[in-house]
């Protein structure tokens, strides 16, 4: 499934009295693996949330391509109700079918759930309560839910922050695989080495677009010394 191209024109966002984003202009090619980079508080997540239709922004966002667009979204590690007796299977069922998840899982949904859990290596823990999962396991679960239905656009908001090395390798392989099948990937990422290795294009955001273009020409040493020094300092 070929993912959409995205065209952003004059995107602006004001929350309360704060200008979060100002006059953003950029385009992402269909089927690209595109990274948003920039310092914390620079508006990367807000930009992604505008693209997902979750923020009351100004300007226009156009999606170009197949009208049957499915969006997979992997948020930053989120807190979920930890005391609820909800297993991984229950959670996956409730996002996979309309029939109440407490009744039973339909066969068609079970096939999708089995495949998604296998992809993030969570099959063995499917009966575990969500509240008992580690941060990395919860990240895997969030990734698994984004795979149902198969996304034409995958939006990732720092999905690897809680992962161990094997988890990070698994996610990287998954993202590359989805992208190779045509999924447009939009990835908020602080790991510049990973960005350099994987991203076709990047947008550097710090309330405005600092730079935008193919990774090899945009992520230059000069750029890294400038804006990215700030990121590295924050990471340190």
């Amino acid at each position: 499934m070929q993912g959409p191209a995205i065209h952003v024109e004059n995107l602006g966002l004001v929350l309360g009295s704060s200008q979060i984003l100002s006059n953003l202009n950029f385009s992402i090619a269909a089927g690209a693996l595109h990274c948003f980079v920039g310092p914390n508080g620079g508006g990367k997540t807000s930009t992604a949330r505008c693209l997902l239709g979750q923020m009351p922004h100004t300007g226009t966002i156009r999606f170009e391509g197949s009208p049957e667009r499915t969006i997979g979204y992997v948020p930053q590690l989120i807190e979920m109700e930890r005391t609820l007796p909800l297993t991984i299977d229950n959670f996956m069922t409730l996002i996979s079918q309309d029939k109440p998840a407490f009744m039973s899982t339909k066969k068609a949904a079970k096939v999708l759930i089995d495949a998604a859990l296998a992809q993030v290596d969570l099959t063995a823990k499917r009966k575990y309560m969500i509240g008992s999962l580690s941060g990395g396991e919860r990240q895997r679960l969030l990734f698994a839910q984004a795979l149902i239905p198969a996304p034409s656009l995958l939006v990732l908001d720092e999905p690897m922050t809680s992962l161990d090395e094997s988890g990070a390798r698994l996610f990287e392989a998954l993202i590359k695989d989805l992208n190779a099948k045509g999924t447009t990937v939009l990835w908020i990422n602080h790991d510049l080495d990973q960005v350099q290795r994987l991203a076709h294009s990047i947008t550097v955001i710090d309330k405005v677009v600092i730079a935008h273009g193919p990774t090899n020409t945009t992520l230059t040493p000069a750029m890294q010394r400038g804006v990215f020094t700030k990121i590295k300092n924050e990471a340190a």
Partner: protein, 301 residues
């Protein structure tokens, strides 16, 4: 439905007279109350799990208090003081919608906001009740607050049935969406769920269920029956299915116990209080089981 109710009562009473069923079922009001229990138990049990997931126990308490105000308004405008449903439903639905609207437009925590509304509704209710107390037998108001199986009639059963049908038709198809929206709103939004609209639907359902249960459980105690069976079931459950079904079973048994135990042993307590006390006993037992029985210790989260 009245024909069905009459047939049901006559049949059960005949069986009771013949010794096939226990003698306690010789009384029409007991049959009415048990009929309500069969409906209320699963209904509150199912909705209670969602109340727990959404951390909205306090909300149903506020709606219960608003029902008291609804009764007072009903008396003031000349509705039947034994069943002022138009006023109760109208006031409580407006109350719930205004509360939810305010919640979505303020940064105040949900608990604090519901607390404010709960206090306001209680204050209005208390003031109006004092105002109308000269016009009605104050025991009527007591039965609204704490429940009274003696006053349950065909109209109350009809109201309960209609509310149950609405809940099943509207609530079940939206169950997954409601749960996902309560777990994570932004994830739900990306999946095309209208989180705000779903929230209003849920508020409306909880409101009408609370009002429909006021007569038998009482305005003050409906919240307890929404919460305690779910809390008790949570002690023993290892998944969503067992959580929901255990909650429904515990809520239903609590209703039966709360209705039958005081009658069997002539204990002078209102039905609502007795039902909640039985539910509380379930909670204590399940808490002990969870902490003492090795197999259930693993169910800890």
């Amino acid at each position: 439905m009245s024909t069905f109710y009459t047939w049901m009562r006559e049949t059960i009473i005949a069986l009771s007279e013949a010794g096939t069923l226990p003698s306690i079922l010789y009384y029409e009001f007991v049959i009415n109350a048990l009929f309500c229990a069969i409906i209320i138990g699963p209904l509150l049990g199912c909705v209670g799990t969602m109340i727990v997931a959404k951390r909205m126990a306090f909300f149903s308490q506020a709606v219960g208090n608003a029902a008291l105000t609804g009764v007072a308004i009903g008396v003031l405008i000349g509705e039947s003081y034994t069943a002022p449903y138009v006023s109760m439903f109208s006031f409580c639905i407006v109350f719930g919608i205004v509360l939810n609207y305010t919640k979505s437009r303020t940064r105040m925590s949900s608990d604090a906001l519901i607390g404010v509304f709960l206090s306001i509704s209680l204050a209005i209710g208390a003031s109006l009740v004092l105002f109308v107390s000269a016009r009605v037998n104050t025991h009527i108001l007591e039965s609204v607050m704490f429940g009274s199986i003696l006053t349950v009639n065909d109209l109350d059963m009809n109201v309960l049935l209609v509310v149950t049908v609405i809940t099943v038709i509207v609530g079940l198809p939206l169950y997954n969406r409601m749960l996902l929206a309560s777990l994570n709103a932004s994830l739900a939004q990306v999946r095309g769920i209208q989180v705000q609209a779903i929230e209003y639907v849920f508020i409306a359902l909880v409101t009408i269920i609370t009002v429909a249960c006021v007569k038998i459980i009482g305005a003050v105690l409906v919240e307890a029956l929404l919460l305690i069976p779910a809390a008790a079931a949570r002690n023993l459950s290892r998944g969503l299915g067992s959580f929901v079904y255990n909650t429904m079973i515990i809520a239903t048994l609590s209703c039966f116990g709360g209705i039958l135990i005081p009658m069997q042993w002539d204990i002078p307590v209102p039905s609502g209080g007795a039902i909640v006390l039985v539910a509380a006993a379930f909670f204590l037992v399940t808490t002990l089981v969870r902490n003492l029985v090795p197999g259930f210790k693993e169910a800890k989260i």
